[in-house]
Amino acid sequence: MQLSRRLQSPPFQGAMLLAPALIVYGVFALYPLIDVFGLSFMKWNGLTPTRTFVGLDNYVQVFNNDPVFWGALRNTILWTIMSVAFPPLIGFGLALGLNQNIPGRAPLRALYYMPVIIAPIAVATMWRWMYDPFFGLFNQMLAGVGLQSVIKDWLGDRNVALFSVFIAYVWQTVGFSMVLFLAGLQSVSQTLVEASRIDGAGRFGVFRYVTLPALKPTITIVVILSLINSLKAFEIVYGMTGGGPAQSTQMLAMWAYTEAMQLGDFGRGSAISVVLLLITLAVVIPYLRWSLRRQDANQ
């Protein structure tokens, strides 16, 4: 009797409903997250049973004796800055355009968004082919309009490879920012827009004093999500260049993978992961606090 009543109590039912998700999340997402810190203090090849504790040695090695690491860090920072600037700006422009009274808005929106749903690895393969030095789209088009002098090995030239990869990334991610901005634009109060028009505000005035302030939270969200997504850039690099040529497109996520899974140094790979993770957390934690406060305020 006692037992069956306890089994029917709301907290018990709640625990039963929560348990499957919480357990699988705890074991396969949170535990590896903690384990990456542990592994970063070990010398281990990932397969043998023996792991040796080496303290901060992996970090010392990564910072002092790993020329690739600093290049990867620099590329990651450059990539992140570009990812926060360009796709959101282009997405914002497209969203502003699609928010006007023009024909064909729905198909245009569907088209801009389409690359978002394609597997990043397929995007990488597509663009690798488009950058093909001999028969690819870009060089053929350049040759077609008489710009032979501009023709390059877009992914083979260490000075341009990172930007070539980034162009593909822009193509894939602009739709994501655009959709978020469109949703934000649609929540801008039309009464306010019309009121300011009646008060004599021009197109630019309405944008500057009504639309833009109303979009502040959306802008924050898009910027943060773009930033976080850019730190994760792995598949597109893996698929297009593998970090080359001469490590010129190497980035932290990719280099952590290479150290651990390709070169068999789980300690160093994890140390690189921890660096990337700390950078990510420095952005994520303030953002989560902000968005939870906002959510609670809406409640």
Binding site: L22, Y25, V27, A29, G97, N101, D132, Y238
Partner: protein, 288 residues
């Protein structure tokens, strides 16, 4: 619809606005840029190698070589990779949504100790880049003896799908009027029944949106599959495509057929269920 009857006119005006016409032309130009890669890939997929080398990039294939598709299918072992992707997706997506919905219900509607902490821990997961954790994830799955198994990939997929879905559904369930659930609970229904009979039916549109988003995400996932599914008999479509690229990158027609076949299922799902993508995405990030 009334807006579409008078295009290019700003609200309230009855004259065509030239700025809007210019803007529209610009948007069409961007659209052309955006669609160009697709056209190029489809055209190439129908060309023989000689035709690829001999004709312009945007020249339609003079004679469609559909054989590229069947040859790429066989060489790329698509029958294996499509089957693996299908099995993993069909098990993972509904199962993941079910456990997420249950958890979201418990976290939003049942008073219990530690639910704020549990909620925060889960929401935190929406932001963790799992690409950072490929090595520990491999270590964990390997220690369980699940490398190269469906279970070994499905469990991490479930884990990384939970945060976003719980976050969205939590927000949705929280806003369900109290009267609705309390009436049922007072009538003696358990939380299990209330969840199943009341909350699931009213949240069907959200569930549909999440289902479709998750289908595409699972179908496309590459990084985790790369470390966990190392045996090519267990490869999913993205792994198969990657291997195809590294082996047969000079068979341009076949390579592009392989790309088209990899991308097609997600594209079809997208074109059919387009509006769910938008609603599934925006309901989370941008709330009024």
């Amino acid at each position: 619809m009334s807006a579409l009857a008078h295009p290019f006119r700003p609200a309230g005006a009855n004259k065509i606005d030239p700025v809007l016409v210019m803007l529209w032309i610009l948007l069409i130009a961007v659209a052309a840029l955006w669609i160009a890669p697709f056209i190029f890939i489809v055209f190439t997929s129908l060309k023989s190698n000689a035709m690829v080398m001999g004709t312009g990039a945007f020249a339609p294939p003079s004679e469609a070589d559909w054989g590229n598709y069947s040859r790429a299918w066989a060489r790329g072992k698509f029958s294996t990779t499509v089957l693996n992707s299908a099995i993993i997706t069909i098990i993972k997506v509904p199962l993941g949504l079910a456990i997420s919905a249950m958890a979201a219900y418990a976290l939003s509607r049942i008073q219990m100790v530690g639910r704020r902490i549990a909620f925060l821990a889960i929401v935190f997961g929406t932001m963790i880049p799992f690409q950072v954790m490929l090595a520990p994830l491999f270590t964990l799955v390997n220690s369980l003896g699940l490398i190269n198994t469906y279970v070994g990939i499905i469990l991490p997929y479930l884990a990384f799908g939970v945060p976003y879905q719980v976050f969205i559904l939590h927000g949705f369930f929280r806003d369900v009027p109290k009267e609705l659930s309390e009436a049922a609970l007072i009538d003696g229904a358990s939380h299990f029944t209330t969840f199943r009979r009341i909350f699931l039916p009213i949240s069907l549109p959200v569930l549909a949106a999440l289902l479709i988003l998750d289908f595409v995400a699972t179908w496309n996932e590459f990084a985790m599959a790369l470390v966990i599914l190392q045996d090519n008999s267990k490869w999913t479509l993205p792994l198969g495509l990657m291997s195809f690229q590294s082996q047969f990158s000079n068979d341009y027609g076949q390579l592009n057929s392989a790309i088209v076949m990899t991308v097609l299922p997600a594209t079809i799902v997208y074109l059919i269920f387009q509006r769910y993508f938008i609603s599934g995405l925006t309901s989370g990030a941008v709330k009024e």
